[in-house]
Amino acid sequence: MSTPDLLYGEAEEDLRKNVRRLLQERCDPSAVLARCESDEPYDLALWATLAGELGVAGLVVPEELGGAGASARELAVLAEELGRGVAPVPFLGSAVLATTALLECPSSEAREAVAALAGGSRIGTVAVPMTTAPGSVFPTSVSARGGALTGTVRTVVDLEVADLVVVPATDEDGPALYLLDLSSSGVRRTPVTPLDLTRRIGTLGLDGASGRRIASSDSAEEVLQHTLTTAAGILASEQTGLAQLCLDSTVEYVLTRYQFGRQIGSFQAVKHRLADLWAGVSTARATARGAADALATSGGDVDIPVALAQAYCCDTVVLAAEEHLQLHGGIGMTWEHPAHLYLGRAKSTQLALGTAERHRATIAARGGLPAA
């Protein structure tokens, strides 16, 4: 167990600055709120800018495939900032899940696809329920016969804006991953009304849709596990970013709201809650950095740092969003205030990629702390 680097490097701080500036211009909370009940809940123009001008859609894609060749540490910083902006872009599905899966697959189709994702010309996702935790058994909800995929997958993230999807399926040789164009025939996408208005989920129905196999048997299992572990680790940084936003805007609010002739931020009960929240967010950050560093460092222990970060961050971000709402009082309960966007996002990330209990079970297994 070597000591992880828990700080941010200079390049990481630069990345943060650029992304934050763009989001401040293009994606303030009122813009996100206005969009979320519209016909275009995703801001694909923003995603195009992130992919094009900033080149961050393919942050971890090698340069020869049109990416930035960065590591999970930079990807985590991007996740922090997108979490901080509750940005309605297909980051998790395309830049994390699909990209990670495709990068691990040796086929030329996979390389082509990942290049398209990196360039922003296409959007991808992976056909697993959003709640699937690392360590889950390989899904059996889709079967493939002669390249024809049949089955149903619930709560697939970013499905409605995706062009292609990596589908875990069982075929004649056992577990496999298929790459599927979502415009193929035999594909049915059913959107679900989501609790999180800033990131959508949908049901993918496959009825003999034709995909290309990009991984099989053990390799398919490994790719999917690696993908889920990476996504869970990166999600911890998204949660840290959102938690920090909730803390920062609450601090801002309690300095401007007067009751009883005083800023409410001068009341000890409020101060102590925010101090505790600050301690929680600081701790979340340490665990999220630990996970990102483990993902970026080959060969070390990854499962425990990722499980630790998720076990800590997924409840901390919900606490942060709940405290944000409570300390805003009545105004936070109104539709026009973005508090509910933060709460919906926080809650959905808590359920995404495994609940805290699920991640604690990983720690129990890996850390030698068996159940009763």
Partner: protein
């Protein structure tokens, strides 16, 4: 004082002359009011018989047994729970005669206009102005978080009549006609997508001085007695085990074994214990009230109720996992009543967040318990002796 048996006799006597199967519902209710069998602890002439408050169930049970119509108390909760006792305590006889009967029968629904955007926890800081003009007062300002404003005929209104004195001293209490010109009611959409509440705007609304309750400048005292009655009402229900949100998740747990995990089991049982313990605390409060010795446990019950509803609904979304990612419907609607167990888990999760804010935040409630129940000192105040208009805001 009148006994339970005497009361029972009175109801039977009344029913022998007023057949609920025959009479028009409203006429039946009016007659019941006039017979002093509405709220029996009210004075004669105002729907009561000066009986013990604890005897009300005796009367209600007799009428229910006779299949008599009731006054649909859920549709006029503020009227019955807050307006009536305030009018009884602070109103003139003329006001009592005008308002109490149609209030009790449900002919006239009431709402309460206290909170403002700038005056939530700090209610006394409110800035809606009432300026005297002849026999009237002219009201301008804005209220918020008003239930039933769109169905109410009358409102309990507190407004500032003197900005030049410290905030608690410059308030006056009125009964406001919600149909008066210049009153505008707009639905207020909440984080659930619904609009349970309203914003109410006043532009030059005229209220006759005869609709003032209490003296000019005594509005704070009158408002406090209104809120006191609200707190007595909370937690007084005689509920059964597993009523409310805990019952919803307990049923899900029983019906869907595939969702169960050891950690969730432990959490479910902790919540069950907390819910049942809180129910008993409310029951104990009810028994104290019935025995004529109301305790301060209502605040404990409201605190626990907020925490519980939030914990249980958060637990429920985690238990349901994929379903917890969904929401039933974001459409803006105007629900008739608030039912925490209706609709989906996402709704419950979001709606419960209001429980620690509405009707006094949990923070304010803890202050109240600390100061009024435990006798701890108030914090140093910076707003007590300053003219309202000089306060920072």
């Amino acid at each position: 004082m009148i006994t339970a048996d005497e009361l029972r006799d009175r109801v039977r006597e009344f029913l022998s002359h007023h057949d609920p199967g025959e009479l028009d519902r409203l006429e039946f209710l009016r007659a019941r009011f006039d017979a002093g069998l509405a709220w029996v602890h009210y004075p004669p002439g105002f729907g009561g018989l000066d009986a013990a408050r604890a005897l009300q169930p005796v009367v209600d049970e007799e009428f229910a047994a006779a299949d008599a119509p009731d006054n649909d108390p859920r549709s006029n909760g503020i009227g019955l729970g807050m307006a009536a006792p305030t009018i009884l305590q602070h109103g003139s006889d003329e006001q009592r005669h005008r308002f109490l009967r149609p209030l009790w029968t449900g002919e006239e629904v009431w709402c309460q206009l206290f909170s403002e955007p700038g005056a939530g926890s700090d209610l006394a800081a409110l800035s809606t102005r009432a300026v005297r003009d002849g026999d009237d007062w002219v009201v301008d300002g804005q209220k918020v978080w008003t239930s039933l404003a769109h169905t109410a005929r009358w409102a309990l209104l507190v407004a500032r009549t003197d900005p030049g004195v410290p905030k608690h001293r410059g308030l006056t209490y009125f009964v406001c006609d919600m149909t008066a010109p210049g009153v505008e009611v707009r639905p207020l959409r909440q984080i659930t997508g619904e609009a349970e509440f309203n914003e109410v705007f006043f532009s030059g609304v005229r209220i006759p001085d005869s609709q003032r309750l209490g003296e000019v400048g005594q509005g704070w005292q009158v408002a406090m007695s209104t809120l006191m009655n609200e707190r007595v009402a909370i937690g007084g229900g005689n509920t059964a085990r597993e009523d409310g949100m805990i019952g919803v998740v307990a049923d899900t747990w029983r019906q869907r074994p595939e969702l169960r995990t050891p950690g969730m089991h432990d959490r479910l049982l902790r919540l069950w214990v907390e819910a049942e313990a809180t129910r008993l605390t409310g029951e104990r409060l009810r028994q104290q009230l019935a025995a004529g010795a109301p305790g301060p446990e209502g605040s404990a019950v409201k605190l626990a109720f907020a925490r519980l509803n939030q914990s249980i609904s958060g637990f429920e979304t985690e238990l349901l996992a994929d379903e917890g990612l969904e929401y039933d419907d974001w459409t803006m609607r105007r629900p008739e009543v608030t039912d925490m167990t209706a609709r989906g888990p996402g709704y419950r999760y979001l709606r419960a967040k209001g429980n620690s804010i509405e009707g006094g935040t949990s923070e304010v409630l803890r202050n109240v318990i600390a100061e009024r129940v435990l006798g701890l000192p108030a914090e140093p105040r910076v707003d007590k002796d300053v003219a309202w208009k000089e306060l920072p805001r």
